[in-house]
């Protein structure tokens, strides 16, 4: 086993020796990102900054492709030419955290003059060979032989449903802080590496169809993202279950929940329907369609990568034993129009401090701040609202406001220990977002402010006339730059 490894490294070295100067010099840049995420537990401040380095691919036309993970929560992004320390700031033209892709553009449009860029190549299949390129410190190119092990729908770092992903075998020496690296075949870009495991020497790459979709979407300057269907489903192999739902003889899977706002829900699909085909592609009992290139592939690729937002969708379903056709339009409302957003990169968390009570709007980012075991460690009520929001909060306008902590002040005596409480009403009025809460409080100049929570202790009371003096003091005492961000 060990011998193979050594031979493999030699092969890679051989690759390096015959590097073609022109291609390397004209296609890759170093991306240096300075990252500083918001502190979800102290929403008025940011965490310690740190830097990330990765490799960006220059595209024909002078824009640079990188992974979104490399530039998430950035304060500044810069490009650096290989082989020289010449640098230029860059702006993010388009970014998609689900697809893990970002398009950058140097502020100085002439910075990449002379770079020819890499054209996009064809989609690959399992068994195809390629190369993963890396930049040495001195700007030299390291070309590592790679093989596509698998093509299939898999998990992306910040996505819930899954996209097409290449499994890649490659031996990568560590050069930068990130494995954001291009995958090439015959001098053309066929994928972006986004993850790598040094022990197994296997990594994952975003395949070229995803990149094409992303670039096409970004071309008009208005980035829309990948569509989603908005359903939960179950395989339909079980003959007893097929009989129960009166499924056709073969094919199709069972929809177990349909978000009324999603592509499927708006096209009229309902819970209990058997989805037989999408846009003419037949679906099997396990949720696969036959892809012309990849063979049996999970339906996610059919629905998310192939069509664009706004394009027409055609569904064939069986309902109660009757087959019918339904049409709609691909969109991503099921993902975007939610009460509790799953992802929240780059965005400053909203908060509102009143007399020492700190209110925030619940987001996935807040819960993830509790660490890997957030679902056990975070307040269970918040976990419940987030995880089962499809059960509970179909209305995206009704945000979940919660008391995240109490900054002790003279008027929060006895409240100091409270945290993680979902706010339901203020003075008897239902509150649906943080701005509404702030407005109600601002308008109350005297008298009681009765906060009603979903759980114990049920009610907390502050006196409106106490607030102006106390709020100012709290801001000073705790050094809060502002008492609200709505």
């Amino acid at each position: 086993m060990k011998h193979f490894g050594i031979i493999f490294v030699f092969l890679a070295m051989a690759g390096l020796l015959c590097a073609e100067e022109d291609i390397s010099r004209g296609s890759l840049v170093r991306v240096r990102a300075s990252i500083q995420p918001y502190d979800q537990f102290r929403p008025w401040q940011k965490k310690s900054p740190f830097g990330l380095n990765g490799t960006g691919v220059v595209l024909p036309g002078g824009k640079v492709l990188a992974t979104a993970a490399l530039v998430a929560n950035r304060t500044e992004v810069g490009l650096e030419k290989p082989g020289s320390a010449e640098k230029c700031a860059a702006e993010v033209v388009a970014i998609d955290y689900e697809a893990n892709l970002a398009l950058l553009q140097p502020v100085d449009r002439n910075f990449l003059k002379g770079f020819s860029g890499l054209a996009l190549g064809p989609a690959l299949r399992a068994g195809d060979k390629g190369e993963v390129w890396q930049l040495e410190r001195n700007g030299e190119m390291l070309r590592n032989q790679a093989e596509i092990l698998s093509t299939g729908v898999g998990r992306y770092p910040s996505d819930e449903a899954g996209f097409l992903v290449y499994g890649v075998r490659v031996s990568l020496p560590k050069r930068d802080d990130s494995y954001t690296l291009p995958l090439l075949k015959d001098g053309q870009l066929v994928g972006m590496m986004m993850g790598y495991d040094r022990d197994s020497q296997e990594g994952s790459a975003i395949p070229v169809p995803m990149i094409e979709h992303f670039l096409k979407d970004a071309a008009d300057g208005k980035y829309e993202g990948f569509p989603v269907l908005g359903v939960s489903w179950s395989p339909l192999r079980d003959p007893n279950l097929r009989e129960e739902v009166q499924a056709p003889k073969s094919g199709g899977f069972l929809l177990t929940r349909v978000n009324p706002r999603g592509t499927a829900g708006r096209a009229g699909l309902r819970e209990g329907d058997v989805l037989i085909s999408v846009d003419g592609f037949k679906l099997d009992e396990d949720g696969n369609y036959r892809d012309p290139l990849y063979g049996p592939t999970a339906v996610g690729n059919l629905i998310r990568t192939r069509p664009t937002v706004g394009s027409p969708a055609k569904f064939r379903i069986s309902r109660g034993g009757k087959e019918m056709e339904l049409t709609g339009t691909y969109d991503r409302r099921a993902r975007d129009e939610v009460a509790i957003p799953t992802l929240q990169f780059d965005q400053a968390p909203k908060y509102f401090v009143v007399g020492g009570l700190v209110f925030q709007e619940l987001t996935g980012a807040y819960l993830q701040e509790w660490g890997n075991k957030w679902s056990e460690r975070a307040p269970q009520r918040l976990v419940e609202y987030f995880t089962f929001q499809q059960d509970k909060r179909p209305d995206p306008e009704k945000k979940v406001i919660f008391l995240s902590q109490v900054l002790p002040s003279p008027i929060t005596l006895g409240y100091q220990q409270l945290s993680g409480l979902v706010l339901v009403k203020l003075n008897g009025k239902e509150i649906h977002d943080l701005a509404e809460l702030a407005k109600c409080i601002d308008e109350t100049k005297t008298g009681d402010l009765v906060f009603e929570f979903r759980d114990e202790p049920g009610k907390l009371v502050l006196r409106a006339e106490d607030l102006p003096a106390v709020s100012e003091k709290i801001g000073q005492a705790y050094g809060l730059p502002a008492l609200r961000r709505l």
């Binding site: 939960s232 179950s234 192999r237 079980d238 007893n240 279950l241 009989e243 129960e244 069972l254 177990t256 929940r257 679902s375 056990e376 269970q380 009520r381 976990v383 419940e384 995880t387 089962f388 499809q390 059960d391 008027i411 929060t412 005596l413 006895g414 409240y415 009681d448 009765v450 759980d455 114990e456 202790p457 049920g458 009610k459 907390l460 009371v461 502050l462 006196r463 106490d466």
Partner: protein, 506 residues
Amino acid sequence: MVSQFFQLGLLFLLPLLSGCGKGDWQLSAARKNVVMIEVTSQTWDYRLPWNPGTVSSARGAGFVIDRKRIVTNAHVVSGARNLTVQREADPRKYPARVIFVAHDCDLAMIEVEDSEFYKGTTDLQFGEIPNLESVVSVYGFPIGGDRLTVTRGVVSRIDYNSYTHSGRESHLAIQIDAPINPGNSGGPVMQDNRVVGVAFQGFRGDVAQNVGYMIPTPVIRRFLQDVEDGAYDHYVDIAIRWMPLENPAMRNYYQRPNDGLGVVITDVYSEGSSDGVLEKGDVLLAIDGYPIESDGSVRLDGQPVQLEEIVERKFAGDTVGLEVWRNQKMEKKTITLRPAEMFSMYESLYEEPPRYVLYGGLVFQPLTANLMAVMISSADLRLRQTYTLFGQDQLYRETPEPVILSSVLPDRSNVYLTGLAGQVVREINGKKIRTLADVMPALELGGERTVIRFEGDQRPAVLKKREVDQVMPRIMTLYGISQPHRTELGGRRLAKGSWNRDGVAK
């Protein structure tokens, strides 16, 4: 290493030094009355609820009190299949039997039939709660040897603490700085020739050292009084939640003067002792005539204790008088105490065999602390949340006993159902499942297929009734299951569940 030897030396020295005067009598009384209990017990396996469980042996301590009774911990004798006791003075091992077990306060009473055993015993007497910083002696048979062992400690804290054996109860407990190790359990803690506690648990984890806990005499006396009628009843519960009334704006809102008295009731548990008498938002001002401070404490014998302590010392059927401030009026209320059966799900079960229903390889079990303990690592979020929020959200009003599809025993007839293990059962053949007792009748309903639906967006499980009848004998043989179900609840009571999702009382 050096310091460890030094410490060991000290531990040996202490009893010797104090061997003069009063300690002499106490040690000799302990020698006569402290017994070593050897137990062979069986623990049910909730993964395989039809199995009789695993057999294990352990050792604990106990002590003889009047009327030839022996007091020990419940956790020493729970699940006991064989029990022997032995005294220092008499090397013979006498068979014993359990008369009463109180899992909620970790106490038990056992007896030996052979009166020979009691020759030379002198019946230990109980004392009161020892003072802080006073010295107590712990007698038992901890790991490391077979002879009676004495350690001494200082009373460090007297407060409410959780009793880990039951999994959900908290009672008064006394913390001492002598370590309580396995084998100490059930042994007496003595001061001035009297028993002032029963050693029962140590501190788990690495955060604290030399911390041990004993059950104080108010809890022991309550146990002894409770069993006088020949049966142990459960502790009672006031079944409310309250919040300190310390905040001036809050006091003003409830129109209470700034006198440092009263707590606000934040929840009244349906079906509990206070249900229908107290309301959310009531300000509780006094309990049985004791004024309640705004932090929820009352002064009992000059000591501040939580207001629940008043209820702790009472029994089912006893009443408690309350002074309540409601709608700016003082009202006197009386509640009749009862156990909080609706929370029995959170109690670890020891004696009763696990209940289950087997249906075509599908195993249904009620959600219990025991089941959760074996499923916790694999439990999906919905199951965990059902367990966590069951009490808080009063889910018992609708579902007194959530039923879980705890496992699917693989068989050629259920190959498509194995992924459903761990789901919370919502309905079977259209009938809402509220307790395990609902499962078998519901399985009979409907046509030729049985349809089992779960909470959340999971697919239903569909089985053909005729096929299930055919495969049951095969599955039972293959998996060594002697009976297809065990559903008797025994003496345990569940919540009544007098509410349904539409808010209509049944």
